[in-house]
Every structure is written in structure tokens, then in C-alpha cells.
Amino acid sequence: MTGERVALVTGGSRGIGRAVSLSLAKAGFHVCVNYVSNEQAAEETLSAMAAQGGKGEIRPFDVRDEDAVRAAVDGIIRDRGGIDVLVNNAGIWRGGLILRVDRRAWDEVLETNLRGAYNCCRAVIRHMMKRRWGRIINMSSLVGEAGNIGDSLYSLSKAGIIGLTKSLAREVGSRNICVNAVAPGWIETDMTSSIPEEIRRETLEMIPLGRLGTPEDVAGVVTFLASEAAGYITGEVIRVNGGLYM
């Protein structure tokens, strides 16, 4: 690709999304940081990007809303000339044993984690097909492959992401669009900060690398998948979990 490359990172204001935004900006991308609720966090991400010499902008929209997604994507394409990389990172977690999960949680988790990713893929795919170049990186999870007690909803949404990734990779491979998933293990973010100390200690003992992951560990892999160097990888699920699940 020549000229400025543009990446859209959904849920890019905090946690793994922020690290991905910063990493892509460092690699030279103009990064569109999407958020839905925490404007201040998005501003902080943008400032951090600027501080390291990166370029980007904030694009607030709700990934659950197909019309809003399409309007935002069309806006970026109009203003920046295109979208080269889409990172479907926006996600929420609702836990609990299946016996106790309430009905609303199903909608909340699937609307954001699955429909959100699906909406964004649909909005960018024709544009990428026309350009004969594109990268889509979907955030799955360790539990999407391995499962976990109390994670039935989250894990089914993240397993769904893997199915979406593989089907789309087959559909648009002939257009030089690579679609991959990244499956983080236990990463230090807001989402995992509330996990009890005892469970944390037990988990650490099962991780061969002996530490929890950082958002930067995940961001490095996403940035690689967005690069020219990863041009022959598609339909893959890349695990970033310190060896917790192999």
C-alpha cells in the first residue's frame, strides 16, 4: 500500500483497544479510535498517540447500531480516503453460572461482541473488496476456544468470532483481504481487574510464562497482522496467552 494507511479500532479508548491504537499509530497508521461511552478515555488515548508522534482521531459510534456504523465508516472513507485495517475489538463481559445468568445479559453480550463485529465487517468489506487490499482483525478470547466456568455467554460470543473470522476469510480471500482473530489469554485490563486474588494466584501457576499478559502483548500481534509481513496469513486464530492454552 502506498500513501497514508488508515486503521479503525473499535473500543479503542481503553485496555487492549488503547494499546492496539497506540501500536498501530507507532507503526505509521492514521488510527481512528472508536468509543461509545468513555470520551475522556478516548481523549487520553489520542493524547498518548500524539505524544509518541502518531496520528489519529476519535470516532464515537455504537457498534451495535448498524446505521451508525455504516455512517461512521463511510465518513472515515470520505475524510481519509479509505480504511485499510479494521480491528474489531469492542467487547463486554458478563459472567455467571448458566443457572444464574439473566436473559438480558445474553442480548448485551451478543449485541456488542458479535453483532458489533458483524456490523463493522459488513460496513467495510465492499470498500476493501474494491481496493483489493484489506485486513480485518477480530478480538476473540482464550475462553472462546477453551471455555471457562462462569463464562458461557462470553465464551460463546468469542467462539462466534472465530466462526465469523474463518467464513469471512474464505469469502474475501480472492480480494486480497486477510481476516484473522487474536485470542488473548489473561490480560491485565479493567475487565480482569476485579478477579479475586486467590483465583489470580491459581491462574498464574498454570501460565508457563509465569505472568499475566499486558495489552501491549496483544497489540504487538495485532500490529503484525495489519502489516505487509502478514500478507499470507488468513483465517487464523493467534493465541496470546503465555502458554495457558496450547
Partner: protein, 78 residues
């Protein structure tokens, strides 16, 4: 511009083929080197240009350039 000319212009742009190749009886997949994804893109382009909807059932019946022109006429496009 006639309907035929407009349709051929879209096909040339979408499939990267020449005007000479765009004979009415030319089949998209066998003669013009299109794959199924090209065909879907082409149909979406037609939908946008002519403000119509083409169902998957109707799409299945479209093989040649003449099929597209006949279809558009049947939808009242001139």
C-alpha cells in the same frame, strides 16, 4: 445514454473488461472471467445505479449481459 450503454459501462468498470468483450450474449462467469463475488458486486452496483432491488433468486437467473438488460427492463428501468 441508453440503458445498454449504461449497463455496459458499469460492467467494464466492475470487471475490467473491454467494450468489445461486452457482447449481449457474453456470460459473466464463462466469457468475462467473473467469479461469484464479482457477480454479487456487479448486482449491488446495478441496484445502486438504477434504484432497484434484486433478490437472490433473481440473481441466480442472471448469466449474460442481455439477462441483466432484460431484467432491468422488466423492473421498469429505461
Amino acid at each position: 445514454m441508453t440503458l445498454e450503454e449504461k449497463v455496459i459501462e458499469i460492467i467494464m468498470e466492475q470487471l475490467g473488461v473491454t467494450k468489445e468483450e461486452c457482447r449481449p450474449e457474453a456470460a459473466f462467469i464463462d466469457d468475462l472471467g467473473a467469479d461469484s463475488l464479482d457477480l454479487v458486486e456487479l448486482i449491488m452496483e446495478m441496484e445502486e445505479n438504477f434504484g432497484i432491488q434484486i433478490s437472490d433468486d433473481e440473481l441466480e437467473k442472471i448469466r449474460t449481459i442481455q439477462d441483466v438488460i432484460d431484467f432491468l427492463r422488466s423492473k421498469g428501468v429505461e
